[in-house]
């Protein structure tokens, strides 16, 4: 009897905790957005600035995700399969973007590419716009979403070992063939899982992009920056509508994670 009471008690604490912190707030935003029907939300979403902001977010994500996928796989292979000087350093460095404040990331890039920065004068002499333009926003997004693929692939690579790769190699397969036929198929779920996490992080990036973009309306404003801009302009409906779209994407990400996670554990 006492066991049952304490079990139900713990369950109640856990569920209440999640309801108060996570589910409650999100539910209220959904309710507030559609309080007056779909039309106001739709109008808020289809203004040219907001459409532009979503486009920009998609462009940045479309560049950053493939770059980080390739980088993540290469890094994971280097960490697990190779021995080289500085390996410990790489292993420590790769988690840094997770522990670092996005504002610090943005500031670092600002100092590197800004007018008085290390590359700033060279870039402006050659007429290349990096800061307050797309390139710096892409670089900032790549920076903050760097570790996700590698972090997923490393444990899987460790677990499968290199017996099959060695066998393929002994049978005369080249390095590339071994990678495409043996390694990649066995890490594919880990890669996909990492790609989903990377995509979510890229779509949602705010702090680093806020610093390097200069927030020029209609030019360097991503979806998340647009939420802030609408909020500052007292356009609550606009801010909520964009938030709802981003939240729906987040929910899709959660569903994808739930579907893929068991497969990853089996393979």
């Amino acid at each position: 009897m006492r066991r049952l009471v304490s079990r139900l008690g713990l369950r109640a604490i856990a569920l209440l905790y999640l309801a108060v912190i996570l589910v409650g707030p999100l539910a209220i935003v959904f309710w507030r957005t559609f309080e007056d029907g779909f039309a106001p939300a739709w109008d808020a979403l289809t203004t040219p600035e907001t459409i532009n902001a979503f486009k920009l977010t998609l462009i940045i994500t479309a560049i950053a995700v493939p770059v980080n996928t390739v980088f993540g796989i290469v890094c994971a292979l280097a960490i697990v399969r190779r021995r080289f000087p500085g390996k410990g350093l790489l292993n420590a460095f790769i988690d840094l973007p997770l522990a670092l404040s996005p504002v610090v990331v943005g500031l670092s890039l600002f100092l590197l590419y800004g007018q008085e920065g290390w590359f700033g004068s060279w870039l402006s002499d050659h007429g290349i716009e990096v800061l307050f333009a797309l390139p710096s926003m892409v670089i900032a997004t790549i920076f903050v979403s760097l570790p996700f693929v590698a972090r997923e692939v490393v444990p899987t690579l460790r677990e499968i070992g290199d017996d099959q790769e060695q066998a393929a190699f002994t049978l005369g397969a080249s390095g590339w063939q071994t990678f495409w036929r043996i390694t990649l198929p066995s890490i594919r779920w880990a890669v996909i899982y990492g790609v989903i996490l990377t995509t979510a992080r890229c779509l949602g990036e705010y702090g680093a992009v806020a610093v390097v973009s200069g927030r020029l309306q209609g030019q360097t404003e991503t979806a998340t920056l647009r939420v802030q801009e609408r909020w500052d302009a007292f356009d609550l409906a606009g801010a909520y509508a964009i938030s709802i779209v981003l939240a729906l994407i987040a929910i899709l990400v959660l569903i994808a994670m739930t579907v893929i996670r068991p497969k990853e554990e089996i393979s």
Binding site: A14, S101, L107, F110, G207, L246, A250
Partner: protein, 244 residues
Amino acid sequence: MVMVGLPLAALMWEATSEGTQSFRDAVSSPEAVAALKLTLGASFAVSILNAVLGTITAWVLVRDDFRGKTVVNAIIDLPFALPTIVAGLTLLALYGPTSPVGIDVAFSRTAIVLALMFVTLPFVVRTVQPVLQELDPELEEAAHSLGASRARTFVKVILPNILPGILSGVALAFAKAVGEFGSLVIITGNIPFETEVSSVHIYGRIESGDSAGAAAVAVVLLGISFLTLLSIGVIRHFATRHDR
């Protein structure tokens, strides 16, 4: 390496370019000190809350069974998937001036703790959960049948096993909390000396053109991130020493 190292080198350079004195002045300005104290205090409080509530949640997800558990398990990762600015906005919708339940904590320090709890929620749950899953319930049954009370079983049998998981989850949550920005800008109002945390302080310095001052405080945050990563490494080292 170039991607991560070079910008950080530029940051260190800027922070110290005008000599150690100006670095010290920027870091020890009353506003910077107040922001840093608030950041560390709030992050510490949130870490403790996470350790307790995260462990309970992980326990319920592993040992308890009820309808809809899969959904609850999936929801845990929501803060990873939801943009931080949206997180701040949603919290303000429920706990702000227009709150339907009559709770208004907007622009207060409670709001900071609330926002940080939101963004750090998954860390402890996700580091403790796999350890609990591996832990054999028979160990607890054995302790129980030998006459140990439930509290004693938890302290002597379960806690030593999950402690490394709790600690590394707490360390990750702490690092995330110290650097958090997006979820705080809307909900805290960023009042200096009152609700302005370090990341927001840095952003303010950049906007007012004081990049050396911003860089100095940023280097302090960078140092905290490094130390936290280092301590996670140490925890992992000790946690796995029996396996090797």
